[in-house]
């Protein structure tokens, strides 16, 4: 039974937010930091308090880096029980994650690669006015506390208000893992719900065993890890690429669909290989109901190297159920209207990937599915939309009689920042706030 009253709502529910703000914080004084957290705990939404029909107008989430847990005074024994990848942080794992070249942590913005990044306060709001109200409130709170500093912040607004779409125009939130114990019914094609231990510590995962837990259990139970990624989308370059590759609007749309594996409407190529089907794209009972090995083994509909076929290879990989992740976040920056040339303003997606093991879930996806040039024996390809591209990789579009290979794919995205956070349960937040972890000696996990 999931402990909804103790799990932060963030990975359990999707709120009807149209605006958001991420505040990246640094703890300068230990007592002030604990006081800040103590004042925040009651504002954090839980799985119980935030339902799908939440009447609230804002939803708050709090998470910490490993350095942040240390800054709060957590003892060294306990700190040592966190997994190596979390202790090191995303910036130190650049080679694993693939943040090289223009994506390198040295070029990140907002102090995200700094060891001074200790915490994040995530605010989801119904609208911009509510976000601004909450921001002022938090400004006053930080001034009052004195000792918690804001390293940077990022404001987010829906690129297409009222519609889940990112800046390239692709429909988002087309599918998501259904978690066992939430009562949600998986849509056709999604398979049985995923074990809760794949996302929350303290529950059995797909192996049938509970995942490794940092100690003490009070700190880790009902917690999750979050990989944060701020990914700039080069909309001008993307549209120019489509123009170069397609003479007509229809050809351009098909190329866009081949890169993603879905039409921009959300309709999957496996089910709509020749022509877009917008009604299919929004029909959650149908849009996820397909496979690859049985329905499109050679990728004639959905290229093997396309984005969705890499991020969820379905029945073409082993142990798919232990690689599932939950994504949360939104778009930032102004929308670039159609026909308007690139304006140089940063816009993109700022998202969190939630899981129980960063190395097994998030890092595996980035290292193998996204950035391994030889994924599925493709030889010289990376994810065409989110892979680390430098103009030297290709995308193969299978078709009869001869496949089409587009060489020298440009980078449509650049990672401008990232971090690993631990998202504790509510009891754990109180444990950190009252300083219990600073004095208690715990046994190291063997």
């Amino acid at each position: 039974m999931l402990e909804f009253e103790d799990i932060q709502h963030f990975l359990l529910t999707r709120t009807p937010a149209q605006a958001a703000r991420y505040e990246f914080l640094s703890f300068r004084k230990r007592e002030a930091s604990r006081a800040w957290l103590a004042g925040m705990v009651d504002k954090v939404g839980t799985g119980k308090s935030v339902g799908d029909a939440s009447p609230d107008s804002r939803w708050i989430t709090v998470a910490f880096t490993w350095n942040g847990l240390r800054a709060l005074g957590l003892n060294e024994d306990s700190l040592g029980t966190f997994p190596a990848e979390f202790r090191q942080g995303m910036a130190a794992r650049a080679q694993v994650v693939g943040t090289t070249g223009d994506n390198h942590p040295e070029k990140w913005v907002g102090g995200l690669a700094s060891p001074d990044l200790h915490a994040i306060a995530i605010l989801f709001a119904r609208d911009v006015a509510e976000r601004e109200r909450c921001q002022k409130e938090h400004d006053h709170y930080l001034a009052e506390i004195s000792g918690v500093e804001r390293l940077s912040a990022l404001d987010l607004e829906a690129a297409y208000p009222g519609e889940p779409r990112e800046h390239f125009g692709y429909r988002d939130r087309v599918s998501h893992p259904v978690i066992e114990g939430t009562g949600e019914e998986p849509p056709p094609g999604a398979g049985p719900p995923i074990k809760a231990g794949e996302f929350f510590l303290g529950y059995a995962d797909e192996s049938g065993q509970p995942p490794m837990m940092p100690q003490p259990e009070t700190l880790s139970r009902n917690g999750s890890y979050l990989a944060y990624v701020r990914m700039e989308e080069h909309v001008g370059a993307f549209r120019e690429f489509l123009r170069q590759q397609g003479h007509t609007r229809d050809e351009q749309e098909l190329i866009a669909a081949k890169l993603m594996g879905r039409w921009r409407s959300g309709a999957p190529l496996v089910l709509a290989p020749k022509k877009d089907d917008p009604a299919l794209g929004v029909d959650l009972q149908r849009t996820d109901n397909f496979n690859y090995a049985g329905m499109d083994p050679y990728g004639y509909s959905c290229p093997v190297g396309s984005h969705i076929r890499r991020m969820n290879p379905r029945d073409t990989v082993e142990n798919m159920r232990m690689r599932k992740m939950i994504r949360r976040g939104g778009t930032y920056g102004p929308r670039l209207p159609e026909g308007v040339p690139e304006d140089g303003v940063e816009r993109g997606i700022a998202a969190f990937i939630g899981c129980a093991s960063l190395v097994r879930q998030f890092e595996f996806a980035m290292n193998v599915w996204v950035n391994d040039p030889n994924f599925k024996n493709l030889g010289n390809e990376r994810d065409p939309l989110v892979g680390t591209q430098d103009g030297s990789y290709d995308i193969t579009i299978p078709r009869r009689p001869i496949k089409k290979v587009i060489k020298g794919l440009p980078a449509f995205t650049t990672i401008r920042g990232g971090a690993y956070f631990f998202l504790p349960g509510i009891k754990a937040l109180r444990y950190l706030a009252d300083g219990s972890g600073a004095i208690r000696r715990v046994m190291k996990a063997s």
Partner: protein, 201 residues
């Protein structure tokens, strides 16, 4: 328009530049002591490079006293498992597997040597799941240093493999860098041509 006469004999194949993809040229590769040429960070530590003999590992561990027969018995277990489902080890992308027991005066040791097509670091969790399913893991429980909590502590299992891996310092491939899938595709193509010729009779 002048035509060139056909040569009487097949021409000697021209020298083809030896590239990583050139399966026609046998290749040997001497490997530094560390097992890699440059440090490339994988998820669980430095990544071992692909060689003309593709990827692989040679894990060597000391056998706990009195466990020799238990290990030998698992040879039969794996044989039966593959007989029941010939593709049971498919996810490992193996070419060959060799299990050896030996004693050179320092006690009985077990060597698990596998040659396969995928970077072990990339698919290591899949391998551990399969090891658990097929009983391969049970062989390792007979070795010294195997983590007691192997059922729940995958990182500790991976660490055991890394610590007991003895990297090669020379690897050779008669048809270098060719994957088992490519070999099977070539044989399937040959079979298809053979079937086609049968149909033409």
């Amino acid at each position: 328009m002048a035509t060139r006469p056909l040569p009487k004999e097949s021409p000697t194949p021209q020298a083809v530049p030896t590239t990583k993809e050139d399966w026609t040229q046998p290749r040997a590769l001497a490997i530094p002591k560390e097992g890699y040429f440059k440090v490339e960070q994988g998820r669980y530590g430095p990544v071992y490079p692909q060689t003309p003999a593709n990827y692989g590992f040679s894990v060597i561990g000391k056998v706990k006293p009195g466990r020799e027969q238990a290990i030998r018995d698992y040879g039969k277990t794996i044989e039966e498992a593959v007989k029941a489902d010939p593709f049971v080890l498919g996810p490992l992308k193996l070419h060959y597997l060799r299990w050896v027991l030996f004693d050179v005066g320092s006690g009985l040791h077990f060597m698990y040597q596998g040659i396969f097509d995928t970077d072990f670091d990339k698919y290591v969790e899949d391998a551990v799941v399969l090891f658990n399913q097929t009983g391969v893991t049970s062989v390792f429980t007979n070795l010294e240093g195997w983590p007691e909590d192997w059922r729940t502590n995958v990182p500790a299992v991976i660490n055991f493999f890394r610590e007991h891996q003895c990297p090669s310092f020379l690897e050779y491939g008669e048809y270098p860098y060719v994957s088992a899938d490519e070999v099977k595709k070539a044989l399937k193509l040959k079979q298809s041509f053979s079937d086609m010729l049968d149909q033409m009779q």
